[in-house]
């Protein structure tokens, strides 16, 4: 019995087996967990996603800033959005 299998997120086994000779170099990605089968987390019910594209530096800085202040990226972005609303004379929404 493997020593650390209790720490895995996904149970092991049935994820590919030994590669067939000649196709071994082809890295077949593991089956991703089915999106449809995943129920909407409670934190997302009744909420909308806002997405945007930034430089890797901006992404990294935001993630690191969130970690430093022990916030989620979500909480950090909510704070930033409220700040920018105030800056432009709008009322903050608060998440």
């Amino acid at each position: 019995m493997s020593r650390f299998s209790n720490l895995a997120d996904r149970p092991k086994g049935g994820t590919g087996g030994i590669p067939v000779e000649g196709t071994g170099n082809v890295r077949q990605p593991l089956a991703a967990p089915s999106e449809a089968a995943t129920p909407t987390p409670p934190s997302r019910i009744g909420r909308k996603a806002i997405a945007a594209y930034f430089s890797p530096e901006m992404s990294l800085a935001m993630h690191v800033c969130a970690r430093k202040h022990d916030l989620s990226l979500q909480a950090l972005m909510a704070e930033a959005f409220d700040d920018i609303l105030r800056k432009y004379g709008e009322s903050p929404i608060g998440g």
Binding site: R3, L7, K12, T15, P19, L30, L60, R67
Partner: protein, 215 residues
């Protein structure tokens, strides 16, 4: 009990190859190695399953759970933990760097690849971790190329690891067979290079632990 993070924002730099072979080198000298695979593509996990989960063991982890898993694995006897991270994944990379005793940045000795490590370097600075660039997949005999690469890396404010891992076909053959290069060709050059790197890492982590204790 070192925890090593393998980080590079660039894909194809040899992160997983470095991860699995270093873990195998640790096992070969009697350490209990654990690979934590934070890459959603699960390449290291695939390697583990190809070898029917023979040691070194591979487990997956979402970024927020890495710290807990490292603590737990140490309590369960792990003596060499290595965290493989995906490219362009700031959450996984920053968690891994935060937890690690030593960060290794695999990088090909080419200008494009080297330019791309600057983001990784800024991440490492934020957490103030000891880190080294490990040159991977370059030509075996090209001292001029490596000297230029070392100079460029120093210009970014980071040191290069003195051990090189040049491109060798055995890495591909071994991976496809679910093996490490130490198992696939124990007397080969790649095995000797991986062994030397592993010994260097062990010595380096021991030294920096002693240095921290003295402060």
């Amino acid at each position: 009990m070192p925890t090593i993070a393998i980080v590079s924002q660039k894909g194809g730099s040899g992160k997983t190859t470095l991860t699995v072979n270093l873990a195998a080198a640790a096992e070969a000298v009697g350490q209990i190695a654990l690979i934590i695979d934070t890459d959603p593509q699960a390449t290291a996990s695939q390697w583990g399953s190809w070898r029917n989960d023979r040691a070194p063991e591979v487990i997956d982890s979402a970024p927020p759970r890495i710290q807990h898993k490292v603590d737990q694995a140490k309590a369960q006897g792990a003596t060499f933990i290595i965290i493989d991270t995906p490219p362009h994944a700031d959450s996984a990379a920053s968690r891994a760097v935060e937890i690690a005793d030593l960060v290794l940045i695999p990088c090909r000795p080419s200008a494009f690849d080297l330019a791309a490590i600057q983001t990784t370097v800024s991440l490492i600075r934020l957490f103030d971790k000891p880190a080294f660039v490990v040159f991977t997949a370059g030509p075996p005999n090209a001292p001029k190329i490596y000297q230029d690469a070392i100079d460029l890396v120093r210009g970014f404010g980071i040191e290069a690891c003195p051990h090189l891992l040049p491109d060798r076909a055995v890495y591909r053959h071994a991976s496809a067979a679910g093996a490490s290069v130490l198992e696939f060709e124990p007397t080969g050059k790649a095995a000797a290079e991986i062994d030397a790197l592993h010994m260097w890492i062990t010595a380096h982590v021991d030294m920096s632990n002693v240095a921290h204790e003295e402060v």
